[in-house]
Amino acid sequence: MVRGLDKKEEKKENKKEDAAYLKSLEKVFQASSKEKHTRFYEFGAWRQSKRKTEFYDYARKLEKEMGIPRYNPDLGIPLGQRKIAPYSISKENAVVEGDDMHICNNAAIMQLFDDIARTAIMDLTPIHEIMQKRLGKSVTPESVNRVMEVWNHTIGGAAAVQEHMFEINPMLTKDGYVKLFSGNDKIMELIDKRIVVDINKLFPPEKASIIKKDLGDRMFALVRIPTIAVRNYGSAMTKRWAATTCLSAFANAYGISGETAINTLVYTLRHQTVIGVGDTIAVRYGRGENCPGGIPYGYICDIVQTDRLYPDDPIRYTLDVAEISSIILDAGWLQEFLAGGLGAPVRVLFLMSNDVFDSVVEHMAEYVLNRYGGYGKAPKTLATIEEIANETAKYCQDIYETSPLVCEMLFGGSLRSRTLAYSAAIAGGLASGHPMIGVEAGHLSQMIRKERAGRLGFFAQDQFHHQGHANDWTLLTDQAQIMEMRNASYPDYNVVANLTTFPSAIAGAYIGRGGAYACNPVIKVAFAENLMGFDFANLRKTLIKGAMREFMPQGERDAVIPSH
């Protein structure tokens, strides 16, 4: 860790003074980065926050209306006088308050969770085979178009038989829809353009070519069930809603009714051809399929679409993957879904704010280019793991120790640990093209930091990284699993584990290797288009819209409640 200040180093020091993250931090903290004696702790507790003051005023009105105690920050145990600084979103011209990035205060983040929960993909090829071989029906472009027309009717909770069924107001379910995609352009040319997910338009040519080759001739249906359905019935509803509405459409379009073939279709739809985003997880967690705890880490990398829209800025993609993973896994799954309500919303923000994480990742990307001559060119060896871990730890520890502002923003060991682990994981993946190198670099970076600082973050972060190496290389049946298929309910992961280490490494490795997707082409295409939902290609911009109260979510009940 010790280094001499030779000329090269002096140049680095000068460069550091001009670093973007220091400028951002000086702006939000209104202090110089060189100032060693700060006045951070004299700001009037919660009253310095415009948003918390607003909450306080609302709550007083509520107390009068409801007659029971409401929100009162004066009841909170004081943790010391601290600056409640707003967050400058990295590379975006926007400053947001922390409270506005709490999952429940930000309609865009809620929509992000809902959009994942309500997505399923159906492989229609086996269904078409049953229609032809078992039922003797002709599957034609016309009949496929008819199915899709009916399915876009039933997906919103409408009946395939009329007229005495009770149906859902279409304004409540307007965001439910179904579209088709395939790797075969000739097939898709015959399909009604309104219901086609056009891979050629959505992806750069070389990526489109890879995806189409891997999808082959199969025909897939992208199904987004209405947001209100998952909000009412939970994420496990998605596969069932998708299968039942699909079956209704097939029965209607092909004129089939109660018979065993119907049931074979249902079984095939529900159990053989439907692809969810999240797998079933252990009953202990009390959640169904498609919940955040069951999403394979590789899928998270394919949900993010920045690589598709900004292919010339691959680092932006890795940053977005880390950020969305931190939202889904760290802030969402661990702190809200599992811990229960009182979360750590700072985990939504710390990676995308004040240019800190960006600077570390960009430094490491540059290091990888210089050290190995390009992405994906480093040998997949322990030496690479050590080099990446050392460099990331050195860089991060350096900025932690030389800038009180960085430490003020990344308060507590927890956020500093995460920043380091995730950037090392990205860099390891970038360097080698293999996620294992990235994850290992993430774990090792923590051990290096622990040697220096004597601790990491919360106890369980230490546990996670101490066990990491053994779990990564294991063949034990309840632990052995490639990184892409692991998820947040994989054994040994706990309420404050640095789960984002995994998607970060996978994303870095995907960029290192090249190609069109990290793990699954079907998932990649499914999130390339998202009508009326979260924009997975512009993460930060969409979250800012949520914080600014400019994002219009779906699943609202306005159509059936008094105007307000």
């Binding site: 492989d123 078992r134 891997d214 999808l215 069932r240 299968a243 039942t244 079956l247 209704s248 029965a251 109660g258 018979e259 065993t260 119907i262 049931n263 074979t264 249902v266 079984y267 095939t268 529900r270 159990h271 692809i275 797998d279 079933t280 997880i281 252990a282 009953v283 069951g294 394979p296 590789g298 997949k380 093209g433 293999h434 996620p435 294992m436 190198i437 290389w473 294991t474 063949l475 049946t477 309840d478 632990q479 052995a480 699993q481 490639i482 892409e484 298929m485 692991r486 998820n487 309910s489 994989y490 054994p491 490795a509 290797r513 190609g515 990290a518 793990c519 699954n520 082409p521 079907v522």
Partner: protein
């Protein structure tokens, strides 16, 4: 009041209607006393098959975890798993075998494409649930692959994913290459349901598509469940053991006789009349009252024995109807109609006191409607539908599946054919009725 259960004896007839054992004590048919049933349950519990052909394909392409996942950085393009299956088999055996003379069985099937692993008794004895064969067999194969092909640590976990699929990230072996006659513990509907995870297709494969043997084997698994769930005890023990004897083991040749007699032009109603007449003649039921219209109201003399007669009639009706159509799908309708006719025409309790009729109704819905379920061959006692009838419905479902001549989209041959090959030399699976009967005769039941 204590009942001397040893007084119940039956004559057991084969699936060809030949007497195989006389005065078989019904209590000796319990899995707790019957070595033949215990042997079959043991064999099933310790058996797993690894699809080496699929493992090879996954490792060659990096298509791991199912559902169109593809990760070429894990691919080992030239790996020859099937070609070197003999060596893999030897390595697996060296991992699984605990002693030179234990009963470990590791064999290749389908020209090296399938690897059978049966874990030894001392492993089964110390296991707390029924996942051990899949886990030990899978783990041994993973390590055998890594050793045989000297796979690097970076790719070693891909072997695990190729075999175990998404486990442990999910609760079962989704996307993997392991086939087991049993399901997984984390998918059980209720406690003690392990033996109920054996599907109709597996049972039919084990019984080589013989309908009566399928019913017999199905009954064995249901009895195994009854023991595990604490249900083969007290006042329920005689009900289920008698039912098993008559419905599943052709006690007193009722099933065979009835099917033979009704095989040409029988109907569900005629089968029912035949069973009622037999029960009346043998004093199992009596005429309780004759109404002014002439309608006779019957009552059971021996409730459990009558239930056993009724259940044997239900299986016979299934075989007559599904056999005539050579189609499994109507089994649900037969269960409904048989039991509704029975209760409406005789005033006697129907099979398992309404449970079978209810199961038939729901089975009809869930095998013919758009609300889920599945084909008859995919059904098991662990299904929300069939779990409600203990013992009596699954044998009918299995017999129907056995009699199907190709109308199923997911038939036994497509889903579970390997199991018929694995157990072709195990006499208990080849002739379950005879083996169970003979075992019951020699059972050490003890004094009551």
């Amino acid at each position: 009041m204590l009942v001397n259960k040893n007084l119940d004896n039956v004559d057991i007839y084969s699936d060809c209607g030949k007497l195989v054992a006389e005065k078989v004590p019904v209590k000796g048919l319990s899995p707790l006393h019957n070595q033949a049933i215990a042997k079959m349950l043991y064999e099933i519990r310790r058996t797993v098959v690894i699809n080496l052909e699929k493992v090879e394909r996954s490792l060659r392409t990096g298509e791991l975890g199912g559902e169109f996942c593809k990760m070429p950085h894990y691919a080992i393009p030239n790996i020859t798993v099937v070609e070197r299956s003999e060596k893999i088999k030897d390595r697996v055996e060296s991992f699984v075998r605990t002693r030179r003379d234990d009963d470990t069985r590791v064999e290749l099937f389908d020209k090296g494409k399938r690897l059978l692993i049966q874990v030894p008794k001392n492993v089964v004895d110390v296991s707390a649930d029924f996942a051990v064969a899949a886990l030990l067999g899978g783990s041994a194969t993973v390590q055998a692959l890594v050793d045989e092909f000297d796979i690097s640590p970076l790719n070693a976990q891909a072997c695990s994913t190729a075999i175990f699929g998404r486990y442990p990230s999910t609760i079962d072996l989704k996307g993997g290459a392991i086939s087991s006659p049993l399901g997984v513990p984390l998918r059980l509907e209720h406690l003690g349901y392990g033996w109920r995870t054996v599907s109709s297709n597996v049972v039919v494969s084990l019984a080589n598509r013989n309908a009566m043997k399928s019913a017999a084997l199905s009954g064995c698994f249901e009895l195994g469940y009854l023991v595990n769930a604490g249900n083969l005890v007290g006042r329920y023990e005689r009900l289920y053991l008698l039912g098993f004897a008559y419905e599943c083991l052709n006690a007193n040749n009722i099933v065979y006789d009835t099917v033979l007699k009704m095989g040409k032009d029988g109907t569900t109603g005629k089968v029912l009349c035949e069973v009622l007449e037999k029960a009346l003649n043998e004093g199992v039921i009596r005429v309780k009252e004759t109404l002014p219209s002439g309608f006779k109201v019957f009552a059971p003399v021996d409730l459990e024995l009558w239930n056993a007669y009724a259940a044997s009639g239900m299986l016979a009706a299934t075989m007559v109807n599904c056999g005539a159509a050579r189609c499994a799908h109507s089994v649900s309708s037969i269960i409904i109609n048989y039991n509704e006719l029975l209760s409406n025409e005789s005033a006697l309790p129907d099979v398992e006191f309404g449970r079978a009729a209810g199961t038939g109704l729901l089975l009809d819905f869930l095998t013919h409607a758009l609300y889920g379920g599945g084909e008859v061959g995919l059904m098991s006692g662990n299904h929300p539908n069939l779990k409600t009838t203990k013992l009596f419905a699954m044998p009918c479902v299995c017999a129907a599946t056995a009699l199907d001549a190709g109308t199923l989209t997911y038939p036994p041959e497509k889903m579970t054919a390997i199991f018929s090959q694995i157990f072709k030399n195990v006499k208990e699976f080849q002739d379950p009725i005879k083996c169970i009967a003979e075992s019951a005769l020699s059972a050490q039941i003890g004094d009551e």
